[in-house]
Symmetry: C2
Subunit: 142 residues, 2 copies
Amino acid sequence: MEQRVSLITLGVNDVDRAQAFYEALGWRVDGGVDDENDHVVFFQMAGLIVALWDRTKLEQDSGVEDSGGWGGVTLACNVQSPEEVDAVLDEARAAGASIPRPGAATFWGGYSGVFIDPDGHPWEVAHNPGWTVHDDGRTTLG
Amino acid sequence: MEQRVSLITLGVNDVDRAQAFYEALGWRVDGGVDDENDHVVFFQMAGLIVALWDRTKLEQDSGVEDSGGWGGVTLACNVQSPEEVDAVLDEARAAGASIPRPGAATFWGGYSGVFIDPDGHPWEVAHNPGWTVHDDGRTTLG
């Protein structure tokens, strides 16, 4: 298996509402399907795709049982400064996210906070001075 | 907020065991921390990083309550052919994964199956003729 993630699918209760939340943060949809059979939206990232899809369909498609809450996966968006962490958390709050952990210095030498999207998915927003966020959006160690 | 995912952290019960599973699939660790305070491993992907970290620490760090099972996030690794889907699923089974959905043609015109890692995280292994998997590992729409 190649060392690769091609797609992250976030299961949501209402694709339109979830799309509106991420658009309010500044994202723009790059593709998707919306017909009588299915509704999914795709966002192209640097190197991979993020999808928003009905959580029950994703549960069935993934061959798992949904425990109904958080299940051990957290995403992060790294940014260029502590000030940008705070700005993104403010944007997320304004768009309807909850903020369980405000921006603050971290034990690992950076600065981060967490927002939780309207479907319960947490995002750490982080400035890690030991990692590089490239102009094209890629994030690399070192 | 930039349209970016920098990091996917998978919460696991035993970092060493989880690392061994992904190494058995062919992945190689690119960094991490292992001391009396913490244990995390990082895999560099095309454009982002995947981390394996203690699930209870991730729960606390993310400001969420762990419902103990799957929580609405599924990852996918896209490959170049249906045959490669089946080969990766065989590798995963041999490494200790369960296979809730064997490789088969999908409703969206591709071919995929799912394995579930030893910590309960599902991965779709997919061949999608409408998307491009580049030589450097990036996956793009179209």
